[in-house]
């Protein structure tokens, strides 16, 4: 389990009082948090908790109703095109063109992100992600797990300083999932990349994340390192912590500060 994030590290993602309302529904209702340089933070919550909505706003693909987002020191609402070349994202719910081969897709995205020496970069990624045999196959002919690997390749093309991951190992068998996590950890160690991931895989969260933000109905209901949350809820694994929070049972008495840090004592 990685150590809790050190607050003295600079904040790479700064979210303040973020709201998103769809008609009468508050999908995200005034959340604030920081993600510090070189750390991995998990965004957890049940379906409809606001994870994907939050990630979408961070990516600039969804306009917030109010609030502010700063990434790498830039205001995402005003200067997102300064930030987008330096970050990347992957999600199993967004595809790449199916009739293009994997190599063609990666070449197109390398050019979109202005990757220098795309051929070399694609070569490196195909080794890291074991894409060699897939490069000349149409993306649409790949299995779900293979697509996830290719999407991760696309996300790493521009050597992002910030990586937003929506269920990065969904659809992968345990072996490949483990390799992907190792790859992400190695990439972070090499590059100092900051990662924010939404996941339903609690083992993945315990293994990779320094920090966890728990969302329910669009608000931050708890936050802390996996160790702190396990201790606070008196549980042995994050699955049980997740269920406690999602089902509003065994809830410790504490508050969450403006920057999303949990305060208070374990009950």
């Amino acid at each position: 389990m990685p150590p809790a994030s050190a607050p003295q590290l600079p904040a790479v993602i700064e979210v303040r009082d973020l709201h998103k309302k769809f008609k009468q529904v508050d999908a995200v209702n005034g959340i604030s948090f920081d993600v510090h340089h070189g750390t991995t933070t998990a965004l957890l919550g049940g379906n409809g908790a606001g994870k994907t909505t939050t990630l979408s706003m961070l990516l600039g693909i969804l306009t917030p109703s109010s609030g502010s987002i700063r990434i790498l020191g830039e205001d995402m609402l005003r200067h997102r095109y300064r930030v987008l070349p330096r970050i990347n994202f992957t999600s199993p719910y967004v595809d790449l063109p199916k009739r293009l081969t994997v190599a063609e897709n990666l070449r197109v995205y390398a050019r979109l992100y202005g990757v220098p020496s795309p051929r070399e970069r694609i070569g490196e990624l195909s080794l890291d992600l074991d894409l060699g045999e897939l490069l000349n196959r149409p993306y649409g002919n790949l299995s779900a797990g293979q697509r996830t690997r290719v999407s991760l390749g696309k996300a790493l093309l521009n050597r992002p300083e910030v990586l937003l991951l929506d269920e990065p190992t969904a659809s992968l068998d345990p072996d490949v999932g483990d390799r992907m996590r190792t790859l992400l950890e190695q990439y972070q160690k090499r590059s100092g990349c900051t990662m924010l991931l939404a996941s339903h895989n609690m083992g993945e969260v315990e293994r990779m994340c320094n920090d966890v933000i728990m969302l329910r109905a669009g608000i931050v209901v708890d936050r802390g390192s996996p160790q702190a949350l396990l201790a606070r809820y008196g549980r042995e694994n994050m699955d049980d912590v997740f269920l406690d929070i999602a089902r509003e049972r065994n809830t410790p008495d504490h508050g969450v500060s403006a920057d999303g840090h949990a305060e208070g004592i374990v009950s």
Binding site: T52, T53, T63, Y93, V94, L96, R99, L100, L112
Partner: protein, 267 residues
């Protein structure tokens, strides 16, 4: 640097669609098929009517030229719309809109692809017109350039508006891509002069740039004069159409960003 980056991203979009076109012979054939078949049909109408028609005796290329020019408009519009639809079919919009690609670069990419598709589709029909009927579209002389520019700009404006409609209302509105341009056909005077229309419809026709183009074509073929006044009027109206098309498309993108539609759009 910024200009180079934009050029690179536009090139990436063009490559993405070129990969798709070049590996799909049905797509290539379908681009040329309709213009060629329509041209052949109007060529035989000409063959049939020419012995009994003075104006066809004077200008045998009147119908064939008209149908080829009409297809510049139609292919130009389809080229813009279909380039956008391909991104929706493949659920790739999410990846595109979180990349550094700007909206205006997307538009330029769509316009370039439209130009290529038009040249392939109408070009093939022009070759068959020469091979089968010894009719050359180039017999229109330099005014052909003025007609081409006006028709393709009008097609682009409609194509962008249709892309905006589909972005706003989903692929259910896709049929508009095939039908939208035909709204203009009756008032464009493709095969007949505008003066045959009822007075109130002539007023409508004067608000449509294509009516000036086809009047201009008849002036070249029947009176052997290039009407620069018609060219200027068509360009002026096209400037308004294009500005409206771009504005509507950008508004639709803004709407989609506000309502979280970019991540979910797809088949």
């Amino acid at each position: 640097m910024a200009v180079g980056g934009s050029a690179n991203r536009i090139r990436a979009l063009i490559e993405r669609h070129a990969y798709l076109l070049l590996k799909s012979w049905p797509r290539l054939v379908s681009m040329a098929y309709y213009p060629t078949v329509t041209m052949i049909m109007w060529a035989f109408v000409t063959v049939y009517l020419r012995p009994t028609s003075n104006f066809l005796a004077d200008a045998p290329g009147l119908f064939i030229g008209a149908v080829l020019l009409w297809d510049i408009l139609f292919r130009g519009q389809l080229g813009v719309s279909l380039t956008f639809f391909e991104e929706m079919y493949s659920r790739n919009l999410g990846n595109l809109f979180v990349s550094p690609l700007r909206a205006w670069e997307l538009i330029v990419g769509q316009l370039v692809m439209s130009m290529l598709r038009t040249l392939i589709g109408v070009g093939a029909a022009c070759v068959f017109a020469w091979l089968l009927f010894r009719y050359s579209i180039f017999s229109l002389g330099f005014p052909l350039i003025a007609f081409f520019v006006n028709l393709i700009i009008c097609g682009w404006a409609i194509g962008l508006a249709v892309s905006g409609l589909v972005l706003r209302w989903g692929l259910g509105a896709e049929e508009l891509a095939w039908a939208a341009v035909f709204l203009l056909a009756p008032v464009s005077g493709v095969y007949y002069p505008i003066r045959v229309l009822p007075d109130w419809l002539q007023v409508v026709a004067h608000g449509v740039p294509t009516s000036y183009v086809f009047e201009g074509m008849r002036a070249v073929l029947l009176e052997h004069t290039f009407r620069s006044d018609l060219f200027v009027q068509a360009m002026a109206i096209n400037a308004v159409y294009m500005a409206a098309g771009i504005a509507f498309y950008l508004l639709a993108i803004g709407y989609a960003r506000k309502h979280g539609m970019l991540m979910q759009m797809g088949e």
